[in-house]
């Protein structure tokens, strides 16, 4: 087998795996967005003055950050089968029998825990004087959050957010373990059919590297845009 042949087959594998790119992106984007929406509530609970919501939110974050994502995926996908009649009576079996639903649910609940911590940290970094200024014009608590606190918290959290997005794109590979044929799933299939795992998985790695390169570039631009007016003038 000639040296160039490896490259030729990597190119072939790239073409084959590209079918999985939209699926990987769908898994990542859907779970990041769902996780984001949930994380706003969890972050608010983390910062709550009341004991119970804070306790529940802390417990949730602790559990989902301390156990492997793969275990969470198996628990939801395989575990739900054990309670089939319960899910059927709730009318939810149609969802839980779907690998796609279980994968996105597990990924979303997982990233939600991490995002909640990021958002809570961002909210803590908002100077109290800015909150008081918003209260002083008569804004309601909700309005203060939407108009002043949250936009600033996102700016604080953005650098760490790019990290979370990159981690999530890589984490979607775990969905291949429950039959989903995204990039890694297709690669496993192709490797066992061609007996050329080196080229196939090298190609899979390249696809992830390219995707995350795009994410990093996007965040760099986004940060520059949001910071354009916040940097102290010199």
């Amino acid at each position: 087998m000639g040296f160039l042949d490896h490259f030729a087959f990597i190119a072939e594998a790239l073409a084959h795996l590209s079918v999985g790119i939209p699926r990987t992106i769908l898994l990542a984007v859907a779970s990041l967005l769902i996780g984001f929406v949930l994380a706003i509530g969890v972050a608010a609970a983390l910062l709550s003055q009341a004991f119970l919501p804070r306790w529940i939110a802390n417990g949730y974050v602790y559990i989902f950050r301390s156990s492997p994502l793969l275990v969470q995926i198996f628990l939801i996908y395989y575990g739900s089968g054990q309670f089939r009649s319960l899910f059927e009576s709730l009318g939810l079996w149609g969802l839980f029998r779907e690998a796609w639903f279980c994968a996105i649910l597990a990924l979303a609940l997982n990233t939600c825990a991490y995002q909640a911590v990021l958002i809570a940290g961002g909210l803590r970094a908002v100077p109290w004087g800015q909150i008081e200024a918003a209260q002083a014009v008569g804004m309601s608590r909700c309005r203060v959050f939407v108009t002043v606190a949250f936009p600033q918290a996102l700016r604080h959290a953005l650098p760490a957010y790019s990290n979370e997005v990159v981690l999530m794109i890589k984490a979607t590979a775990l969905a291949s373990t429950i039959t989903i044929l995204e990039i890694t799933g297709l690669a496993k299939q192709m490797a066992s059919e061609t007996y050329r795992p080196f080229e196939v998985f090298a190609a899979a790695g390249l696809v992830y590297i390219a995707l995350n390169g795009a994410v990093a570039a996007g965040f760099t631009r986004g940060e520059r845009f949001l910071r354009r007016n916040v940097a102290q003038r010199t």
């Binding site: 100077p127 004087g129 800015q130 008081e132 200024a133 918003a134 209260q135 002083a136 014009v137 008569g138 804004m139 309601s140 608590r141 309005r143 108009t147 002043v148 936009p151 600033q152 700016r155 949001l226 007016n229 916040v230 940097a231 102290q232 003038r233």
Partner: protein, 251 residues
Amino acid sequence: MQALVATDIRKAFGSLEVLRGVSLRANKGDVIAIIGGSGSGKSTFLRCLNLLEVPDAGSLWLNGITLDFNRSGPAGGTTPKAKAELRRRLGMVFQSFNLWTHMSALDNIIAGPIHVLGQDRKEARAIGLDLLDRVGLADKADAFPAQLSGGQQQRVAIARALAMRPEALLFDEPTSALDPELVGEVLKVIQGLAAEGRTMILVTHEMAFARDVATHVMFFHDGRVEEEGRPDLIFSNPGSERCRSFLKKFL
């Protein structure tokens, strides 16, 4: 005509009694200067007026609404709705400006009118640009706080307070965080507002300014009003020894 009345306001932080019963009566058009040493309670009192600090006891009256802090429980005066109404009707200018750093100068000014008063965006913008012009910053509408000097930021903050069409303006040491050469531009704006007959309550260390602009001066000491009256009398012939020695440091 009365605009704002505070009666026997008391406030403690833990065991530290910061306000031991302070009353204030502002008629329409009054400019009340509050002076006193640090720790005398003057800033806390001002913050009590728009409930950034909630008094432990006493009452507030602002043309038509009364908040009574002597009653306990949620039935007392400080329901979120009453709180928001009081704040909406009072303008506040902070020592450290507290402009929202992620918004342009104009957006800082129109956020309140749009979200709290329910003005439409176009109307709010027109009024906001007008106010920026009045504080001498017509060309800074799109500038962000970080791109403005301290004096400019404070003038935007004054415009932000004015945009709410407040019945009275509260100033918490508005020039104390400014470089000396920037103090004048802010005082000039405040003086202009006084000349318009706006009701203002001003915590300040600028004694000369208080003497020239105020209609009434209150000297705070240790959580109480030690002395108050017309500025010409207070400044030329203070009655209490404490007030005299305090003023001596400034004039």
